[in-house]
Symmetry: C2
Amino acid sequence: MDLEVGDTVKVVRKNSVYEGVLMPTTTKNTVIKLDNGYNVGFDTGKIQIELLKKANASKSKKETPRGQKQNLPLVSILSTGGTIASRVDYRTGAVTSQFTAEDILNAIPELSEIARYNSSAIYTILSENMHPDNWIKLAQAVHEEIKNGAEGIIITHGTDTMAYTAAALSFMIQTPVPIVLVGSQRSADRPSSDNAMNAICASAVATSDIAEVCVVMHATTSDDFCHIHRGVKVRKMHTSRRDAFKSVNTLPIGRVNYKDRSITTFTTYKKRGESELSLKASLDPEVALIKYTAGASPEIIDLYINAGYRGIVIEGTGLGHVSSTWIPTIKRATGNGVPVVITSQCLNGRVCDRVYDTGRDMLKAGVIEGEDMLPEVALVKLMWTLGQTQDYEKICKIMIENLAGEITPCTTTSFQA
Amino acid sequence: MDLEVGDTVKVVRKNSVYEGVLMPTTTKNTVIKLDNGYNVGFDTGKIQIELLKKANASKSKKETPRGQKQNLPLVSILSTGGTIASRVDYRTGAVTSQFTAEDILNAIPELSEIARYNSSAIYTILSENMHPDNWIKLAQAVHEEIKNGAEGIIITHGTDTMAYTAAALSFMIQTPVPIVLVGSQRSADRPSSDNAMNAICASAVATSDIAEVCVVMHATTSDDFCHIHRGVKVRKMHTSRRDAFKSVNTLPIGRVNYKDRSITTFTTYKKRGESELSLKASLDPEVALIKYTAGASPEIIDLYINAGYRGIVIEGTGLGHVSSTWIPTIKRATGNGVPVVITSQCLNGRVCDRVYDTGRDMLKAGVIEGEDMLPEVALVKLMWTLGQTQDYEKICKIMIENLAGEITPCTTTSFQA
């Protein structure tokens, strides 16, 4: 039998029957992708295999024309690439970014029940290749769309660095309308793809009253609802699950029910029209995130400073610690006007350097406490802050100020000691 | 009234009454520590304050003599410092390590119902100051105790880098008896201290059938049970909560009920006597953990290599990615015999570089996939591996081999794509 990658096949092994799409493999095994999205491998000698449908037969793509209803709000879709705009290349088995925002609209007709759309492709890159320069151009494009009348923004984005981009936009743009980042963990042509549900929920948020930069992604392993995460409080917490994105140190802003697109909110948020549109799109990318590990040498700080880095965020241990051997190097850095911000590799909880000796010495050496900021968010914020001012005192002040919800204010009960 | 830090006081503000211990503060506010362990701050001008008990009155310390029951198993307690062996210095408000293992036994009389104990203080340091050299000496001490007849080992350890030490011991020692790391998140003299429950549960595990290196810590916010985490699969996931330690990418080995000290297991484990005692305590500490962040420059790899680092673990994004601009630098490093291991900053899930273009290019550049290893565990394992062999092929082979439970084997369903 002449089977090709991409063919739909039936595999019989012992008493079990499997149906799926034949996948490429570098071994002599037979690999098929099941309807639930899982790949299963078989010893080719021990199975019977039967063709159900040729690959070509399923390749005809419906191009549903899209009716724009004039009474619906206007949303701009800006695509940057990533899995939500990708499909598997069955020749290589790899996922590549091939879709534009226009393609997404054609592929998900339900979107046109929620809004009218403008769409433009800003980039077509996998998100691990995003650079602070890309954030600036994206912020400028978002600003332009809102200035031109968009009542909501959807940014399709790869999931790997989506949280970094969300944080960057949060600091760069004051927005009177929702700015929603959305992606998918499984490509559009996979049965388990989360792209349609995520895009529909994102559209519901883009037309809502939540005028913040947020990330809208699957909340559970079922297709029931998405969470609306604040752009400065969210993190990709799983390599492959559809519910990979989690709010850290806060509740999500709310959730969107997939079925009826209703939104329930869990926290306060900025309302539509509450902020004036403004853009502060300068960044200094020469900021390093250094993760302290047990026994790491203090010379690491010097490596970065000698290479010209102008700001440092340390991901310390526990409440925000490093080895006491690091203190003199940190003191020298801050003395030379290089801000050093301390966060925690625990991710959850708040740094507090008043409790243990090491922390108190760090405060004396001039570190800026990152409070309950995620390390990645502190990094992006320091890049942005250095883009706004060179004044060391002002930098320190901005870093401990809550600008976009990145720092949860301390209550009187300051620290659960 | 002549109040001192450490005095027990009653504070009346409006219609609310608070009782607690007067804490030091650098502001003009009044801060007291409540019975539940929380600190509360008050505007001194707006409260009435009354002395309940002088600090000195509560300072008499009972030195309960400890009866060693000869029919109980022999456990060695090795103390290294940290909060479990610390108390608050009320003059400064800081926590310092002041207790020895002997002090712990005196303070927690229930321990003597579970085992007989030898105790020795290996170090008295806060765990952020632990260095690979300390792991080696600790492993040697553990090995010596077991050789001399200890039927279980308890290591009291600061929580900040406890997981690093647990991983190091897991690779360095093959053990026929339990090796239990335990710590506490709140110092012994605080009402909310977790040190007694954690120590008692640790002792139950040290006398159990679970002959692995494990971490025993509070599982919930209540004083109900502790989890038994495998030493290579555990991470401190909160800066201050008592249930900060979590098993990642696996279930805990089991749990210990505080009340009756009964153990329930959730996974398979090595049983008492199953492994021969052996020690391979060589490490190469010149290994760096580099966290990739969006837009980070590939020159970072060169900074470390030029500084003489002999191994690199990258904490990439998503399934194990970095910017494609990093690929040539990685290729040069591996070409020069510097192993580069890729893990994920998502922490949860498995890296898989066969799915996207970037990952496939990384494999071609020679990266070693860290599978579902935690980044910190991959770091410690690479230090240990470089301590065992200089042969590049052998290093690669060891890194992808499951030695101590650090890699969960792939099932046929290899990747939830």
